[in-house]
Every structure is written in structure tokens, then in C-alpha cells.
């Protein structure tokens, strides 16, 4: 399976449930396209739930950075939720863990956008 993206609304926060692989090709481009589309619609509060991401490569990491920059530059906020050990380790060794606002609890993450 490549990547599966499902968007839902919790209050004024758009939560994107990401499942599968964020790797070079379909996986990373699908995420990029979705985030650009959301920014294009004026969405400012975006929470990426990465709990079901089974694999992410350097291209996928690049897409997270790209998404963060795109959302921030449009005046919005992009935060991360439910990182598994693998994704967390990757963000830590690439020194990106502190760049992102990372949450383990959805309700708390949603509240943090206020």
C-alpha cells in the first residue's frame, strides 16, 4: 500500500489521518498535493496524524518540511500527532523534531491551535 489520506474536521482544526508509506513517488506527492489544496482553500490549522504511517523516507521527510513551510508561509500552523518510534527517531536524527510542534494526544493538539 502507498499512502492513504483522510481529512476530517475537529472544531476549526483540519485533521489529516495519514496511513501507509510516505516515500518518493505517489506517497510523498499525494501528501504535497493535499496540503497545497488545503492551504489554497484557506485552511490555517492543520494537524497531521501520522499514527498509521508505516514507513517514511528522506523524500517523505522533505514533504513534511515542505508542508510545514507552505502552511506557515500562508499564515497557518501545521502540527504533528501520534509519531511512531520510527518516524520520531528519523525526525530526531535529522534535528527536525524540535522544528515541528509534536503532540501525542489529539484533544490536546486541537486545543493547542487556539
Amino acid at each position: 500500500m502507498s499512502v492513504k489520506l483522510n481529512t476530517r474536521q475537529v472544531g476549526d482544526v483540519s485533521v489529516v489521518d495519514v496511513a501507509g508509506r510516505i516515500t518518493l513517488g505517489e506517497g510523498s506527492s499525494a501528501l504535497r498535493d493535499l496540503l497545497r489544496e488545503m492551504v489554497g482553500k484557506g485552511e490555517k490549522k492543520i494537524l497531521l496524524n501520522l499514527g498509521d504511517v508505516s514507513y517514511i523516507d528522506s523524500s517523505g521527510i522533505g514533504e513534511l518540511v515542505s508542508g510545514f513551510t507552505t502552511v506557515t508561509n500562508s499564515g497557518g500552523q501545521l502540527k504533528l500527532l501520534n509519531l511512531n518510534k520510527r518516524v520520531k527517531d528519523l525526525l530526531q536524527i535529522t534535528k527536525l523534531y524540535t522544528v515541528f510542534d509534536v503532540h501525542e494526544d489529539e484533544a490536546g493538539a486541537v486545543r493547542s491551535f487556539a
Binding site: L24, G25, S59, G62, E63, V65, T69, T94, V99
Partner: protein, 146 residues
């Protein structure tokens, strides 16, 4: 870390097309050999990711998806070392020209982390120019008996 359980040495050699499907195949093949060699889950993840990043470099940056160019994958292991060689037929590039992805000014770059990750996950990494053209990378994971 690999458990020492009398695993028979295995050699795998493949010539792969310059496609993203080959990236998946190479990762799967190398991880399969590593699994049979007795590496644990953590090392299998590291080996798989290092192979994936190396294959992406070979297919995308080396052979530039050229259908006439192949990527050669060679996986071998001895009692001490698990070695993967990946060679493309591209024009080569200077790894030293890749900016340090951990430097504060580069943290928000969207690319340039592949070789850094390979170095992080493997015990040895070497890149050399091939004649008449191409780049070959050698990735080594040490076999440590429990």
C-alpha cells in the same frame, strides 16, 4: 545486532531497471537476505532504508530514470560483514557538494538528507566513481554475534 545461528552465507546479484519499482524491489531483496542472515528488526529497518536511499540516488540522480541504464545490486555477507553494493551508470556527482543537512541554515531544506541517513544507519559507507561512467556505493553493516 545479528544473532549467530549458523546462517549460511548468501549472495544476491540483480540488474534492475531505472524505475521507482526497482527501489522497492531492491529494498525487499536486501532486507530478505538480511533477515535470513539473522539481523534483528531494528537493523533490518536501517538496512532497508539505507538501500532505499541509495537506490533512489542511483535511479533518480544517477541514471535519471533512463530506460537504457541499469542499476546493479549486489548483496553479500561474511561472518563479520553484511555488504551491499549499488552501482548506476550515470554521470556521477560530488557528494561533498551536498550541504550539511544538520546545519541550522539547511534544516528546512526539502532534500539532501539521503546520504546523511545512509551514513547514520550503516557502519561503513563508501562512494566511488566507476569507469567509464557511473557511481558505486558500498554499504556495510557489521555482524555482531550475541
Amino acid at each position: 545486532m545479528r544473532e549467530n545461528k549458523n546462517h549460511a552465507p548468501e549472495t544476491l546479484e540483480k540488474s534492475l531497471d531505472s524505475t521507482l519499482e526497482s527501489v522497492d524491489s531492491a529494498e525487499e531483496l536486501a532486507v530478505g537476505v538480511a533477515q535470513r542472515a539473522g539481523f534483528d528488526e531494528d537493523d533490518l529497518m536501517k538496512i532497508g532504508m539505507a538501500v532505499r536511499e541509495s537506490m533512489v540516488n542511483a535511479v533518480v540522480h544517477g541514471n535519471r530514470y533512463n530506460a537504457h541504464k541499469k542499476v546493479r545490486l549486489l548483496v553479500t555477507h561474511s561472518p563479520e560483514r553484511f555488504t551491499i553494493r549499488i552501482a548506476d551508470e550515470g554521470e556521477g556527482f560530488d557528494a561533498a557538494s551536498i550541504p550539511d543537512p544538520l546545519a541550522p541554515e539547511n534544516l528546512m531544506r526539502t532534500s539532501g538528507r539521503g546520504i546523511f541517513l545512509i551514513r547514520s544507519f550503516m557502519d561503513e559507507f563508501e562512494m566511488r566513481h566507476r569507469e567509464p561512467q557511473g557511481t558505486e556505493v558500498t554499504l556495510v553493516k557489521y555482524v555482531v554475534s550475541k
